[in-house]
Symmetry: C2
Subunit: 291 residues, 2 copies
């Protein structure tokens, strides 16, 4: 049985065909331009692919409330042409299969739980540190939703005493995303993240903010695994720094064998699915429709 | 069918008998001294009460992992005599009915969802601001657990620019509890909360910290209702101040009709069960055993 998957991002839509074991059989990347153009190409890709269900993980904010008139819409995005766009509706008008829809990061969390770093667990978070910071969560075996979907990338953080950068979130200035997403790094230091690789002070600060967020996620959600991906995390030396800071900021308050110097490297980890986390996540969403 | 309930607190154990509609038929308050003495009186109360199940909401930290050797224990509490105490085991040795066990605040969240301010919803948080700050959460219809139980009272907060109080959490100094629980208020201002009622600067600061925590809970958990109780919240004028601060700190980022000037008073609310939230919560836990 073939499943369809779309990882709908602000720069590109990755579309794929896969199976119920998370194996990607075919994939294509389509630039995100206008809805007409992009979705036209997406539909073209899926034409005559004979899929039985579709999963979509999308950039947001999105409306996930099934009782809402705008369920399946991308809602208030600043991205030109895409605000109030009926993504699920447009897809389903042309591809007549059941569609499961969630945020890109919730999808990735599902993928990591089905086939990746959180396999076999009933709780985890998936965080991406890229152009923005987004986090998806599974608690008690289910994707976490509530009033809306979580927006954990915007939590308020305390600033590092030596950091005078104002922050660049248009809503909160110095929230987590405003201080630690890729564009914040670039604005604070005047160079792209990849060019800052050998400046320890950059990553010291970065680890401080990311760890602070993880500490709050631990205290609030108590996830069984924390998976962190996205462009900025390609700086692999960040992982040990973040882990160290998490331990020091928690200061022994939460006692668990995972939160020790020896074991934390198995608790805060890169995606088991690598750059396929998003697409496999959409596959995992599609798979939920078959039960 | 009668149910037993225990709200096990650091100062007192409240024991009660109730029914499946959350009606408390009988209750008694027993001082928390030594386990022998306190639990002796608890057992005395329940003797010959013919209950069919028991719910216990306890101060913590507690071990809630059913696969653990110390399931049902109060674990690393600084409270003399109670660390590593097998609470559920001792009760069950003498009262031979099924026991449901959780944190005091998780129990209260259950009670508020069954019969209180969050009735009919599948997600809420219950926060107490008293001697400590504790929060219980229900997400997607289930009590939130993970690696351990959440410890949201200790999240890291940014300090108010005019606040020079060092904070009094033994683990983190200026975490939320260290800045905003009853004892922090008393230490910062030199008087008990109740005596500070007419000093606006006290509550300005207090609202700032509580709102900051609520903003992060909204961004991370997206609860459908936030119920706040505990001694400090007896200062009822705090509610409008906290609501106002939540709106201003979120700054329009999460768009939902509940998060507007008109509706937020129905979103951030005192316990529907008043001072019975804890005991009714334990009843609600007991009730879960009957399905
Ligand atoms: N190797 C790298 N080291 C540090 N930063 C990087 C690296 N690669 C990409 N980035 C930064 O990550 C951001 C892009 O994140 P990415 O996850 O690739 O895309 P998106 O978030 O748009 O899906 C940019 O700000 C970029 O500068
Ligand atoms: N009316 C009040 N106004 C302000 N603070 C209060 C009031 N009543 C109690 N407190 C404070 O609340 C704390 C006790 O909280 P409470 O919820 O009653 O007990 P506990 O948290 O121990 O169960 C104390 O620090 C006390 O000073
Ligand atoms: Zn922000
Ligand atoms: Zn603390």
């Amino acid at each position: 049985m073939k499943l369809g998957a779309i990882e709908a991002g602000g720069t590109k839509f990755i579309c794929g065909i896969g199976d119920e074991d998370g194996k990607v059989l075919e994939r294509v990347s389509i630039p995100t331009t206008t809805p007409d153009e992009t979705i036209g190409q997406v539909l073209e890709f899926f034409r005559s692919k004979e899929i039985s269900a579709m999963g979509i993980g999308s950039f947001g904010p999105v409306d996930l409330n099934k009782n809402s008139d705008t369920y399946g819409y991308i809602t208030s995005t600043p991205k030109p042409h895409w605000a109030q766009y009926n993504l699920v509706g447009e897809i389903q008008k042309h591809i007549r299969v059941p569609v499961a829809f969630d945020t890109d990061v919730n999808a990735a969390a599902m993928g990591e739980m089905e086939w990746g770093a959180a396999k076999g667990l009933d709780s985890c978070i998936y965080m991406t540190v890229g152009t923005g910071i987004g986090v998806g969560a599974i608690t008690e075996g289910k994707l976490l939703h509530g009033l809306t979907h979580p927006e954990m990338g915007h939590i308020l953080v305390r600033r590092h005493p030596e950091d005078s950068f104002a922050g660049n979130c248009p809503y909160h200035k110095d929230c987590l995303e405003g201080m630690a997403a890729g564009p914040a790094l670039e604005k604070r230091w005047g160079q792209k993240g990849i060019e800052l690789a050998d400046r320890p002070e950059v990553w010291e600060l970065q680890a401080y903010y990311l760890a602070q967020a993880l500490v709050n996620y631990i205290l609030i959600l108590s996830p069984k695994k924390m998976v962190i991906g996205g462009g900025v995390m390609k700086q692999e030396h960040l992982f040990p720094m973040v882990r160290q800071q998490v331990i020091s900021q928690l200061n022994g308050y939460v006692q668990h064998s995972q939160l020790t110097e020896e074991n934390i490297r198995n608790y805060i980890v890169p995606p088991g699915l690598g750059d396929n986390a998003g697409l496999c996540g959409a596959l995992a969403l599609a798979k939920t429709l078959k039960h």
